[in-house]
């Protein structure tokens, strides 16, 4: 933009050096300067905090990093007694349970968002949207309890006996189903991230100009076609952002997951077998980690989780950047 616009000479005031400008500002309004400094400090506090957290993590993880190196993330034995630590099953469990959650939550959440913006009668929109957002306010331990008392018995005693003859040949449904499992953990995560994805997607879809819809309808598109070919592509940047927001939450969720996932250090592609996540393991073992190496290994695991989160967010940015080369609607909603 600046390249195309000719730069006009500033005729209002003579050029000022930095110091003069500073002086002038002080004269103009002391309050503004204070306000500006305050805001700068606030803005600086966030990256600073991030750096401090990273520094603390590395400092705490250092003994384990020195002893295990990168083998920490490629080995599978977690034995606090022998002092051997490897987090591959935890990394796997974190990503796998989040994947399960996203596979369930994304279509559901998008369906909710599309229904609320495009199809629902006007009087229904606000109440349903409020209810969906209310789900986000439920504490995770409540989801965990609900999972223990309702979801797991339902899955194990009602649904599994019905689908077992049909599905048990699939590798992802291998083995005996005791209840606590990646499936149960992933489903509870799906319910927990659904309101985030649905709420943000709804905002994104609301931001799509009605002219777009009307144009599509005027060209003879059905409502379904208008949504699928015009509205969703227009808002895709924002929707990707919403999904990433949900994914970030799924990766870091602790309490509900640990109550349902079975907490077993094991890599299994079977959804009905127990698994474990990094966040759950840290929460479980931190308080009673007696040896300093055990503690350091837990902090190292925290660092790994931190890196995973950064990678997920960075790839999200990249994805959005890729997607954004085309349309930009809703990118403000991220």
């Amino acid at each position: 933009m600046s390249a195309a616009t000719p730069v006009l000479p500033d005729t209002r005031a003579p050029r000022l050096s930095g110091a003069e400008r500073w002086h002038e500002l002080r004269i103009v309004s002391r309050g503004d300067v204070v306000f500006r400094l305050l805001l700068t400090a606030f803005a600086a506090a966030v990256p600073l905090l991030l750096l401090i957290i990273l520094g603390e993590l590395i400092a705490g993880a250092w003994p384990a990093m020195k002893q295990f190196g990168l083998g920490f993330i490629t080995t599978s034995t977690w034995d606090p007694v022998a002092g051997t630590f490897g987090v591959l099953p935890l990394i796997f469990g974190t990503l796998y349970s989040s994947l399960v959650a996203m596979v369930i939550a994304v279509p559901l959440a998008l369906g909710v968002a599309i229904f609320l913006t495009e199809f629902a009668p006007r009087w229904l929109r606000t109440p349903v949207a409020t209810l969906v957002e209310l789900l986000a306010g439920v504490p995770s331990v409540i989801y965990g309890l609900w999972g223990v008392f309702v979801l797991i018995p339902l899955l194990r005693d009602v649904i599994w006996p019905i689908v077992k003859p049909v599905l048990s040949w699939l590798p992802v449904f291998n083995g005996v189903f005791y209840g606590p499992s990646v499936l149960a953990g992933g489903m509870i995560l799906a319910i927990m991230v659904l309101p985030y994805i649905a709420a943000v997607s709804r905002e994104v879809l609301l931001a799509v100009p009605s002219a777009q819809r009307e144009a599509a309808l005027a060209l003879g598109a059905t409502r379904w076609e208008a949504v699928w070919t015009v509205v969703l592509p227009y808002g895709r940047v924002g929707i990707v952002g919403a999904v990433i927001l949900g994914l970030g939450r799924a990766i870091g969720e602790t309490m509900a997951v640990t109550m349902l996932i079975g907490n077993r250090h094991e890599i299994s592609w079977s959804l009905i077998q127990p698994g474990y996540t990094i966040a759950a393991a840290i929460a479980n073992e931190f308080a009673e980690a007696v040896t300093s190496m055990h503690l350091s290994a837990l902090v190292y695991a925290g660092l790994v989780l931190f890196v995973i989160t950064v990678i997920v967010n960075a790839s999200a940015r990249w994805l959005i950047w890729r997607v954004a080369r085309g349309s930009a609607a809703g990118s403000s909603a991220i």
């Binding site: 606090p80 640990t258 077993r264 479980n284």
Partner: protein, 356 residues
């Protein structure tokens, strides 16, 4: 006569307390298992000594040992004793003082079985090692004549969070099974050969209750308070013993305390005829040398009270009390604590109040 003397000594204690009347604050941190009794002792001690404030934070045994080692608290508390290397790291400046006892019981949900199941050490080790996989295994059946056991799979449930309960249970398994000792060992968190992890006693109990064919372990106090039926375990003397406060205390009474062990003795698999085999002390950690003599005196007096008068609160809260011989040993130990090289407690401290 005894009562008069003990009343007199109490009066003397009060008088001494009144003499240095400035308020004393003690902080401690550590194990969650004894938290209910410790907070009771803090609360009740106000009636003995009103100007003393004790702040106990139940942050877990690991945190308790760390904070104690870093000198950020006046006393630590732990369910598993400090390791030799951890003690060396603080130049051996620690006494383990046992306060109460806890026991761990096997809980199970076996379809169709209403009788109380009996477990031999071999069966428990076999189940938790993943070698006994069916409830109608001949080894389980041999210990339970007359009980019809189903063909269900055995589902092992263990604690997913690090805990003193796990320490006691694995300490027991390590003693009775050489294979467990070799493959798994003992600790607040171990590398379980099989099973699902439940968070906390309630996590294990609820998973066991809702999973047909499952077996787990919880603290005795949790099982009794929630009326969860539990199995009996065969002790070293060969008797099947049901866990209770009395059989837990019996385990401690039959244990031996070699002088060099600093009370860091495991009382699992104790030899007594009526000793429940999966039991343990929980400890408070205090320094051998306390630089602040006033604080040190207050701490020792509180511990003295807790291991004597304070014991009467234990049973109602679900903890087993210390047996009398152990209390006598603790008295001697408390009197060795020094400040500036001199013993803090007078040699005749508590005379007359010795026998509870």
């Amino acid at each position: 006569m005894k009562r008069t003397i003990s009343a007199l000594s109490l009066a003397a204690t009060l008088a001494v307390a009144a003499l240095h009347a400035q308020e004393i604050r003690l902080t401690g941190a550590g194990a969650t298992f004894p938290y209910p009794i410790y907070s009771k002792w803090v609360l009740e001690y106000v009636t003995v000594r009103p100007n003393m404030q004790i702040n106990y934070q139940s942050i877990g045994s690991g945190g308790g040992i760390r904070q104690f080692s870093d000198h950020t608290v006046d006393f630590g508390a732990t369910d598993g004793p400090m390791s030799d290397s951890a003690i060396t790291a603080i130049n051996g400046n620690v006494h383990h003082i046992p306060t109460v006892l806890g026991a761990v019981v096997p809980v199970y949900e076996v379809p169709g079985v209403t009788a109380q199941l009996k477990f031999t050490p071999e069966v428990l080790a076999g189940i938790f090692l993943g070698q006994i996989t069916k409830w109608n295994d001949s080894r389980i059946a041999a210990a339970n004549p007359g009980v019809t056991l189903p063909d269900n799979d055995v589902v092992v449930v263990h604690r997913s969070d690090g805990s003193g309960t796990t320490f006691i249970f694995t300490d027991y398994l390590a003693k009775v099974s050489p294979e467990w000792q070799r493959r798994v060992g003992k600790g607040t968190a171990v590398n379980w050969p099989v099973g699902l992890g439940g968070r906390g006693n309630e996590g294990v109990a609820s998973t066991v209750k809702r999973t047909p064919g499952s077996i787990g372990y919880v603290e005795l106090v949790y099982a009794t308070q929630n009326r969860i039926p539990f199995g009996v375990v065969r002790n070293r003397a060969g008797n099947f013993v049901e866990a209770s406060l009395a059989s837990t205390t019996a385990a401690a009474a039959s244990a031996e305390f070699p002088a060099a062990t600093d009370f860091r003795v495991s009382i699992t698999d104790a030899p007594g005829a009526d000793a429940y085999p999966i039991a343990s002390f929980t400890w408070i950690l205090i320094p051998k040398e306390i630089s602040d003599g006033v604080k040190g005196r207050a701490l020792l007096e509180w511990l003295w009270w807790a291991t004597h008068d304070g014991q009467r609160f234990a049973n109602s809260l679900g903890y087993a009390t210390l047996p009398a011989p152990v209390v006598t040993l603790i008295e001697a130990r408390l009197k060795t604590v020094t400040s500036g090289g001199r013993p803090i407690l007078p040699a005749n401290f508590g005379a007359g109040a010795r026998r509870r």
